[in-house]
Structure formats: C-alpha cells, structure tokens
Symmetry: C2
Subunit: 208 residues, 2 copies
Amino acid sequence: MSKTAKTPKSQLTEEKILDAARKIFVQQGMMGARMQDIADEAGINKALLHYYFKNKEQLFEMIFKQASIRLFPRINQIFNSDDPLFVKIESFCAEYIDVVMENPYLPLFVLNEIHRDTELFIQKIWGESNRPNPLKLLMQIEEEVQKGTIRRVNPMHLLMNMISMTMFPFVARPMLQANLGMDDWTFRMMMEQRKKEIPDFIIRSIKL
Amino acid sequence: MSKTAKTPKSQLTEEKILDAARKIFVQQGMMGARMQDIADEAGINKALLHYYFKNKEQLFEMIFKQASIRLFPRINQIFNSDDPLFVKIESFCAEYIDVVMENPYLPLFVLNEIHRDTELFIQKIWGESNRPNPLKLLMQIEEEVQKGTIRRVNPMHLLMNMISMTMFPFVARPMLQANLGMDDWTFRMMMEQRKKEIPDFIIRSIKL
DNA sequence: GTCTATAATTTGATAGAC
DNA sequence: GTCTATCAAATTATAGAC
C-alpha cells in the first residue's frame, strides 16, 4: 500500500473534516475560523484534526484549492468554448448561477482571501490551469463589433458587466436580504430568474 | 471643559489611531486585524491604544460606523431625490464611483462584516438613518414602465444590475488586477470610464 | 485512528511608573 | 498622555495512552 492510499475509515473522516472546514472557513474566513469549531462541526476533537492536517494553514489551502477547482475550470470552459457570443453569455450566467447556488458564499470567500493575500492565491491556488482566462471571449466580442452584429462596445466593460451582474448578488446577499426583507426562497427564485434576465438585459443593450 | 472636549494633542493621537485602525481593519477585517498592528501603524503602543479605545470591538464599531456614514447617506440622497430616472442612474454611478474611489476597499469590507455578523450591522451600525432605502427608486422605475418610457422590466432586477455593475469592480479589484494584469492607474481610468459606460449600457437596454 | 490532557504561542487587556 | 512590563484568556499544536 502506497503512502497516499486511504483506508475507507480514514477517507470517511477526512471527508467529514473537509466538509466541516469548508463550512466554517467559508462562513468565517481564514482568520475568523477556529480549529475547535471545525472539529466540533466534524464531530471529532482537535487532536484528530491535527492528525489529518498538520496545521490550520494547510487545511485552509486544501479547502481553498478545492473551491477554486470547482469554480474556475467551468468558467474557463465556457469562456473558451466555440459557441457564438450570445449563446456564450447565456451559458455563463446559467452555469455560474447553478454552480454557485450550491455554495452561495463561495464568491465572497474567494474575493476575501484573494484580497487578504493575493500572492498566495495566484501562486499556490491558481496554477495556470485554474486561472480564469477571458481572452478568447474578449476577442470574440471584438469580432462581433467588426462584423457589425453588435454595437461598438469596449469588450472589457462588457465582460465586467456580465460578471458583475451574475456574481454580485451572491456577494451582497446578506445586505440585499437584510434591506429588502428577502428570505432564502425569494433569493433563490430571483437568481433563477436572473439566468434569463441578465442575458436578456445585455443582449438588448448591445445588439443592433 | 466638558467631558468630551479634546486637547489638540489627544485629538491628534486619536486621529492617528483612527486612520491606522481604518487601514488595518479594512485590510484584514475585524477578526484578522491585530491590535499590535494598529498600534504599530499609528506609531504608538498597545497600552495607549487601549487608553483611547477601551477594547477592539469598540474601536471596530467606530471605524465601521464612520465608513457607513460616509457611504450610505449619499446613496440614499440620490435614491430619494426628485430627479428623473435616467438622471438618477447617472448620478448614482458617478457619485458612488467618486466616493468609493477614495476608499476602494470599503465595499468589500462592508459586505464582509455584514456577512460575518448581520445583526450587529443592522442594529448598531444602520440606525434607520444610514440604511439604504431604494423604495422610491423602485417605484419610479415602475412608473416609467407604466408611462411607456421604458420597456417592461422588473424594477428589482434593474436596481440590482445597476448596483452590481457599479460596486462589483471594487469588490473584485484584486482578482481583476491579477487576472488582467491591470495596474492601479488602469483600474482608476477604467472606473472613470464606467461613470458614463454603465448608465449608457443600462439606458440602451431599457429605453423604448 | 481516536481520545484526554497539556504544552506553546498568540493576543487582547491592565497595572503602574514617569 | 505615554510608556514598559505583565497578566489573563483564547487558540493552535503536540504528547502519550488506548
């Protein structure tokens, strides 16, 4: 048996820990999270936690990398697909909202941590493979402008508008819910609508 | 001399502390910030820090309230003005970008902390007076729809689109800069453009 | 692999001299 | 008002039994 092989039991515990850590880290951030809370959430004690993960930082990096891997490759897949522009915009919104709906606090978490330690993020988490790369999409927008399919528009601003309208509600969720008296169900329904609403809003603005 | 009167010296030190605390808190969040770091940044020691502010929480609340007061009343002023819709959209984008450009990390900070402790935020920081209230703007949108000035659009989605496109670049700034190789000057210039770009983008999408 | 108990470290907060 | 020195509490990490 190799060094990295896992018994069924250790796999199960490791999974429990990772689930617990994800929940606590995403809720509290790297600094706010307490190893005790993670252990409690996992139904084990701190010693066992350290048995599986040498220290907090290592556990954090694992969680963070997992989160990035779940999020960014799918975005890149859409950014780099061969679909026509309007289809791409629809796919991006729908796909992103679907993925994030299951981990609603992931975007804020990611933005937080990349802000807290940009270098760590770029080097250790994004290894070129996970790094979002919108280049092809940007060129595609420029092409459509040249062809006269859409109005003269700055591709970067268009990209930013699309990403903003899709991600932001997740990032601002507590503020929105507090201010508009929106419950979880309503928020969910609203995001479901936005899968159509955002592409529609964009296309109406740029089509000739 | 009343209890709250301040000598020139104590005012100066208090100001130094608040500036330092703002910087550290906005950078690290409530949990990540260290009293030592704040003291260092202010060029004093921890004891003196506690002399001016009883504890970390009190200092944090002060900073946070200051930040909120700088941000939200101006937003409300625009939300509740009597300007026509299109003018209002332009004012909001321009004003918001201008205010936040001077404290670029304020939005992420606010969203973070409201996420961390929603109750504290709503009760202690927003005292009805600071609370963003978009009701009038929402009704105004609905009116324009009725009048046939703009297409049939869900006011809430429109509001969310506007806020998203304006705030999000600040929230995602480190990610954007890292991914697009954007330096500070470029970011600044881009946001300057967006004061026109966003209203234009919106109006083209909704006008009939 | 998992636990209890405890060490080691960090960090918020205070006492007391000047 | 400001500092040095120190305490007290919280929190990460480890030792060692089972």
